[in-house]
């Protein structure tokens, strides 16, 4: 395990020096700028409403906007996680980058853990920074702050780590391109599950809700995201609370006390499966 920090440092350097990271930074700056503009405009327009709606306009606007920004944050985090893990094993082996490292006395598990930690060292601060920036923008634009701040941010970061772990597992079996496509299809499946649940809730269709619930737990980054959405407006009640729940990009859904345990167990199983598959892989 002596090599884990060395490989993590290597992965971190690789992430920071690759062009994709600079592209993500540019996209993030564009996203935050647009979000600021949108939030500012939305709060200004809502302030001109002259009543008549049975909702707290500022609460509805802040919750919906910030929920939207959380989706954006999760998406950008997923893009970063995918690009940092999609070629770690088979992709790097096909390019000849992996073999010189694997033959060193470091152990395959140390190599994989180092690569994962390197990706985590980029993704987690990134997600927390974008999440915090969005919260500050929302507060500045409309004097709105989430009911819970820290835990939803941590859950978003944890969701991105689950995506990174899935990307690492896929990289053992799939080429970089195929793995990239697979990661985004899995991410899309989670998003669709959230939307299905929302539709199921609006139509009171139990089967849809069950399918959505099971899918979001099978892909716990989605369940973590839904629970995070729930927590930012956990104190909203009445029609305002309902309106926020039916907001865009997947409804908020309380995950319950078992969600963190499930997410950790899921993550551990995915990582163990990756280590087992990599240890037997011919390079």
């Amino acid at each position: 395990m002596r090599a884990v920090p060395i490989i993590a440092g290597y992965a971190l350097q690789e992430a920071l020096r690759r062009r994709i990271f600079h592209v993500v930074l540019l996209l993030t700056a564009a996203f935050l700028g647009l979000y600021w503009l949108g939030a500012d405009t939305a709060f200004e327009e809502v302030a001109q409403f002259e009543g008549g709606l049975p909702v707290e306009e500022q609460e509805l606007t802040g919750g919906t906007l910030f929920g939207l920004s959380m989706f954006g944050t999760l998406f950008l985090g997923a893009v970063l996680a995918a690009f940092l893990t999609l070629g770690v094993v088979r992709g790097d082996a096909e390019r000849g980058l992996l073999q010189p490292l694997v033959v060193r006395p470091v152990g395959r598990s140390a190599l994989l853990l180092g690569r994962f930690l390197g990706a985590a060292a980029v993704c987690v601060p990134y997600v927390l920074a974008v999440y915090s920036a969005c919260a500050l923008i929302t507060w500045t634009a409309g004097d709105w702050w989430p009911d819970q701040f820290l835990r939803p941010g941590v859950q978003l970061a944890a969701g991105v780590l689950v995506i990174a772990a899935l990307g690492l597992l896929g990289s053992v079996f799939l080429s970089a391109t195929a793995n990239g496509i697979a990661i985004f299809m899995v991410f899309g499946a989670g998003l669709v599950a959230g939307l299905l649940g929302q539709i199921g809730e609006a139509l009171n269709a139990e089967t849809l809700q069950t399918v959505a619930h099971r899918t979001s737990w099978a892909l716990p980054f989605e369940a973590l995201y839904q629970d995070a959405l729930y927590r930012i407006t956990s104190e909203s009640r009445g029609f305002t609370g309902l309106a926020i729940q039916l907001g865009p990009f997947g409804g908020s859904q309380a995950g319950g006390t078992n969600l963190p345990v499930w997410a950790i167990a899921y993550f551990a199983v995915v990582l163990a499966a990756t280590l087992a598959a990599f240890s037997r892989k011919d390079l």
Binding site: R95, L97, P100, V106, R280, D282, L283
Partner: protein, 280 residues
């Protein structure tokens, strides 16, 4: 003496394809062994089994007495893959520093400078990999394999991208490694190079060893050619030991002798005979 590399009955099957079929070979410390064979003969598979990059379906491989792929075996090994690449954003010095840390080498800056000098990259220390030519990257790959002074080197096509001057540098380096008692397995398509530097040659074809021995042992006598004042005289059945007698006889006959050449088959001819029609 514990062999630097020992392979016994190594067999590798990929589904229905038998890539390696019961191959055994040894490389002693200070010995330079050339591994020859057509494409698909199993050379790279054999080298990868020795490195622990792939698992043999049957048989075993050891590096300095330790099972291939185990931490002690990896610590004793330097490897240059046939297809390799270093991150383009690393400089030559950074590549070597990373491998020093992974290999646990305490050589520091001195070792890095020495290795870059050995492969003719002393002036490219700060040059980024993506700004290097293919030949420079191959030299850097050789320097990387030498990090930590491993007692065993497995080199898979180390000169394929080098120009003649680069090949000469590598040949001189291999000679030096032999003097340092390092065991080297050299997988190469360049027969002339193998013939020049290797102590022993192993020829693989269709996953099996089809010929083995020193380049001299593998070559066969093809007669003696003597240049006289009457022109070239060929004695097709004559052996090296018969040269003094032949010269004496010609001198007695009043001929002037200008040159004598003992003819043998080249390694290339022996190789082509050993692999038969296997040119895949």
């Amino acid at each position: 003496m514990v062999p630097a590399l020992l392979v016994e009955d190594a067999t590798k099957r990929y589904g229905r394809v038998l890539a390696l079929d019961g191959v055994s070979l040894e490389v002693q410390p200070g010995e330079l062994v050339g591994l020859l064979g057509p494409n698909g003969a199993g050379k790279s598979t054999l080298v990868k089994i020795a490195c622990g990059l792939i698992r043999a379906s049957r048989g075993r491989a050891e590096i300095c007495g330790a099972p291939a792929g185990s931490p002690p075996a990896r610590a004793a090994l330097g490897y240059l893959a046939e297809l390799f690449r270093f991150p383009g954003w690393y400089s030559a010095d950074e590549v070597l520093r990373l491998h020093q840390r992974l290999a646990g080498s305490q050589g520091g800056e001195g070792e890095r400078g020495h290795l870059l000098e050995l492969v003719g990259l002393a002036n490219a220390r700060g040059v980024r990999v993506d700004a290097m030519s293919k030949g420079m990257q191959q030299r850097l790959g050789i320097a990387q394999a030498l990090v930590g002074s491993p007692p065993v080197l497995l080199l898979d096509e180390p000169t394929s991208a080098l120009d003649p001057a680069g090949r000469q540098t590598v040949r001189a380096l291999l000679e030096e490694l032999r003097d340092r008692e390092i065991g080297v397995l050299l997988n190469s398509h360049l027969l002339s190079e193998v013939e020049l530097v290797c102590d022993r040659v192993v020829i693989l074809s269709r996953g099996r060893v089809v010929a083995e021995g020193s380049p001299e042992d593998l070559s066969q006598a093809r007669g003696v050619e003597i240049e006289t004042d009457e022109g070239m005289r060929l004695f097709p059945e004559a052996l090296r030991d018969q040269v003094p007698g032949l010269v004496e006889q010609l001198v007695r006959e009043g001929r002037q002798i200008y040159g004598v050449r003992v003819l043998t088959t080249s390694l290339e001819e022996e190789y082509l005979e050993a692999v038969g029609g296997d040119t895949a």
